[in-house]
């Protein structure tokens, strides 16, 4: 038990270190920008005095190391700085630029929750379907069902998300009005309505993610079917379904859990395109909008959040696979 805890602690430390380096990369990349943020906020016609005032306000005159420390310190405490877009608006409205800034955290927080909801719904649909189909495909391998599933999953893995999204909109929203094609989610919505509006984007993501998970599940089980204890079970005369569910599946669980975690990590990037198609108010859409208007603090914050979620899920896959495999738990 102690060795497991030590391994988990090691991985966690490694993950934190990676996140730290990633934050440096993001910060440096953003600071390579020519010109400066103050100019970007005020536009071309700004007076030098105004620019200087904003530079002082935002602390842009400090050396990069100080600014990085401040940004990182703030980010750890949940303060991600102020959005430029809001500052822009405030300065146009003639209000004081210093105090009228909207914080990035207040913009990101509700959207982050929405995205987590979308990812959660997707996972709830996708994981059971993928594992069941994967087991079935392994059971009836090389049959018509397996081949059809192979062609379908390959096609859905390789299609772009927006193609899937528009095909689903076409069939489920336009031709047969079953589900709404716009996911306008707002606060105070009751749960069932929120679920209905989330269903179409969730289905799109499900199509993309299920295919991957199913193929991996199939491969993991087929890999095990060649081992001697499976042959033994077969020779005892157990039914093929029982061989797979009782004997192969528990041993294939490690790679399957690994694949599920990796695919959830993939979901994190998949949401960007899908959220834009369905106008779903999640963090991906905020990210793309901010990229378009070059709202650097928001871009920086979203990037950090995406990277953190990605690293966390990869870490989880890593730890789970170590826990479920005794050979990795006791390295020689």
């Amino acid at each position: 038990m102690a060795s497991i805890l030590r391994i988990i602690a090691q991985r966690l430390a490694l993950g934190l270190l990676t996140l730290f380096v990633v934050s440096i990369v993001i910060f440096t990349a953003v600071n390579l920008l020519p010109g400066d943020f103050a100019q970007a906020i005020l536009g071309q016609g700004a007076t030098p005095e105004a620019i200087e005032a904003i530079r002082n306000d935002l602390g842009l005159n400090d050396p990069p190391l100080t600014r990085y420390m401040q940004w990182l310190g703030g980010a750890i405490q949940g303060d991600l700085g102020n959005s430029f877009a809001q500052a822009n608006f405030a300065s146009f409205a003639g209000t004081d630029t210093g105090s009228g800034l909207a914080s990035v955290a207040s913009q990101v927080a509700p959207r982050f929750e929405n995205t987590m909801f979308l990812a959660g719904v997707t996972a709830m649909i996708a994981v059971p379907i993928a594992v069941t189909l994967g087991v079935l495909a392994a059971l009836y391998r090389n049959s018509i069902f397996d081949r059809a599933a192979n062609v379908m999953t390959l096609s859905s893995i390789s299609s772009p998300e927006f193609f899937m999204a528009y095909v689903l909109i076409l069939f489920l929203a336009v031709l047969n009005p079953i589900l709404p094609s716009l996911s306008n989610i707002y606060e105070g919505m009751d749960f069932s309505e929120r679920l209905t509006k989330t269903l179409l984007p969730a289905l799109t993501l499900t199509l993309v993610v299920t295919a991957h998970m199913m193929r991996m599940t199939r491969a993991a089980i087929i890999n095990l079917l060649a081992s001697p204890y499976i042959e033994m079970a077969r020779l005892k005369g157990i039914s093929p379904m029982r061989v797979i569910v009782k004997h192969a599946l528990p041993n294939a669980l490690a790679p399957i859990i690994n694949v599920i975690a990796l695919n959830l990590a993939y979901l994190i990037t998949g949401v960007v395109v899908v959220e834009v198609v369905f106008v779903y108010p999640g963090i991906g859409q905020l990210f793309v909008d901010s990229v378009k208007i070059r709202d650097i603090p928001v871009v920086q914050a979203c990037c950090l959040i995406f990277a953190a979620a990605y690293i966390l899920l990869n870490l989880m896959a890593d730890i789970l696979s170590i826990i479920s495999n005794p050979r990795l738990r006791h390295p020689k």
């Binding site: 927006f162 193609f163 990037t269």
Partner: protein
């Protein structure tokens, strides 16, 4: 909610049908092993498959003969069914042609080819054809090709086996003939990709009654450019840029990977750790962040944003190539023939290009196909989000974004709604085709039977 009720009733009916099917089978065949040992799930699957087939046939029948209002509803399913059958027939004939035409080696290859791979190869050839001949090719291209082709043929005849030389000569001459014919045929696209024609927002379908124009079969976009021409030029731009990006990613990734594998030590450590960090950021997110920065740099330096995009995606994707090249390279450098080459005193260049590279071709080639798909999809997604390939260049991702609202007309005028789906479908078709071919190659090289 009635739709869910219908679905449940249909499933229950199919389940009952499955039980009846097995029962009748057992009775009629007097307990033949197939029916006697059939689990209920399998019987259910057979009946489900049959029900789906019957449903597709009936839908197709309605779509061809029904009232316009009903037929419109099934228009897309009809197109999908016709497309599926059409592609299957083309793939079948392509494989058949491959089995009877060509050298011994290629005939053998075609005989073992599944239909999906054959479909993939036909599609890739079609896209390459569209991409190369979208605009008018210059006479210089033909002269250069001929000047390169003749020495290649002579070299092949002198150095290769007769069989291989014959197929090389065949490929070169067919390519030359196609180029010369296409030079006189002219461009495939009826109009230029940036050409602004008289009428804007002409509806696709070419039906004057609802605002179409037979001159523009797919209509024109919001500023009056022909959509069909832009689709064809999209093959040139989107596929061409994705291909160039993949090649660049491989140049960077494979070179660094092999260097890390052969030299090892601190160089390996430094590059590997840097790659680890870059891979910890999701690639689409990182690409979007860097594109934001590039969009500020681009006008300042006077370099088009597209060049930045190629470089950014190439660097991000080269990390994945690096991983593979290093892993493959590490397995090769411990071989005896590498030791022998080192003892002979060969240089690093000889080791990498003459010893490691030829032995790493198969995995790298498969990776090239997969990497191309990823790059292609990333570029399409970036363009769809509005930060990828910039107008006035025609590009499929941007076209999907611009035409997306037409989908809402699907119930009244299906051809109108088809325009955005055509652009998105063009992307999907190519990646599916490449994936089919790569899947087949991997299956073949791994020798897996089960």
């Amino acid at each position: 909610m009635s739709i869910w009720l219908q679905l449940i009733i249909a499933l229950v009916a199919i389940a009952a049908g499955g039980w009846v099917f097995r029962f009748v089978g057992q009775k009629v065949t007097k307990d033949a092993p197939l029916y006697r040992d059939m689990p209920f799930g399998v019987a259910f699957g057979y009946v489900l498959g049959a029900a789906l087939l019957v449903w597709l046939v009936s839908v197709y029948y309605v779509a061809r003969t029904g009232e316009p209002a009903v037929a419109n509803k099934y228009f897309f399913l009809r197109v999908a069914i016709e497309g599926f059958i059409g592609f299957a027939i083309i793939a079948y004939y392509f494989r058949l042609a491959g089995i009877y035409i060509g050298s011994e080696g290629s005939k053998k290859l075609f005989r073992s080819m599944p239909l999906t791979a054959s479909f993939g190869i036909v599609t890739i050839i079609f896209y390459a054809f569209l991409a190369i001949f979208a605009g008018q090719i210059s006479s210089l291209t033909i002269i250069v090709l001929a000047a390169l082709g003749v020495p290649l043929c002579i070299y092949a005849r002198v150095n290769f086996r007769a069989d291989a030389a014959k197929s090389i000569v065949g490929v070169v001459s067919v390519t030359l003939i196609v180029f010369i014919v296409m030079y006189f045929v002219g461009p495939l696209a009826p109009y230029g990709q940036e050409e602004i024609l008289g009428a804007a927002n002409v509806v696709p379908g070419g039906d004057p009654a609802i605002g179409g124009n037979p001159d523009y079969p797919l209509g024109t976009d919001q500023i009056g450019r022909d959509i069909l021409s832009r689709l064809i030029y999209g093959a040139q731009n989107t596929v061409g840029i994705a291909f160039a990006t993949t090649v660049l990613a491989f140049l960077i990734g494979a070179t660094l990977g092999f260097l890390a594998a052969t030299i090892g030590g601190w160089l390996d450590q430094v590059i590997s750790r840097a790659v680890d960090v870059l891979m910890a950021i999701p690639s689409l997110i990182f690409a979007l962040l860097l594109m934001t920065i590039a969009s500020v740099w681009a006008p300042e330096l006077g370099i088009p944003l597209t060049y930045f995009m190629v470089l950014i995606i190439a660097v991000i994707d080269s990390t994945r190539v690096f991983r593979l090249a290093r892993a493959v390279g590490l397995n090769i450098v411990v071989m005896d023939y590498i030791e022998a080459a080192k003892l002979r005193g060969e240089g690093m260049g000889y080791l990498i290009f003459r010893e490691i590279l030829p032995n790493a071709t198969a995995p790298l080639l498969a990776e090239f196909g997969l990497r191309f798909c990823f790059v292609f999809l990333t570029i399409a997604s970036l363009s769809f989000l509005g930060v990828g390939i910039q107008p006035p260049l025609a590009d499929w991702g941007t076209m999907v974004k611009d035409l997306a609202q037409f989908i809402n007309f699907a119930a009244f005028a299906p051809p109108v709604a088809a325009a955005p789906l055509l652009a998105a479908g063009a992307i999907a078709l190519l990646t599916v085709a490449v994936n089919f071919v790569v899947d087949w190659m991997l299956h073949k090289s791994s020798g897996l039977k089960e």
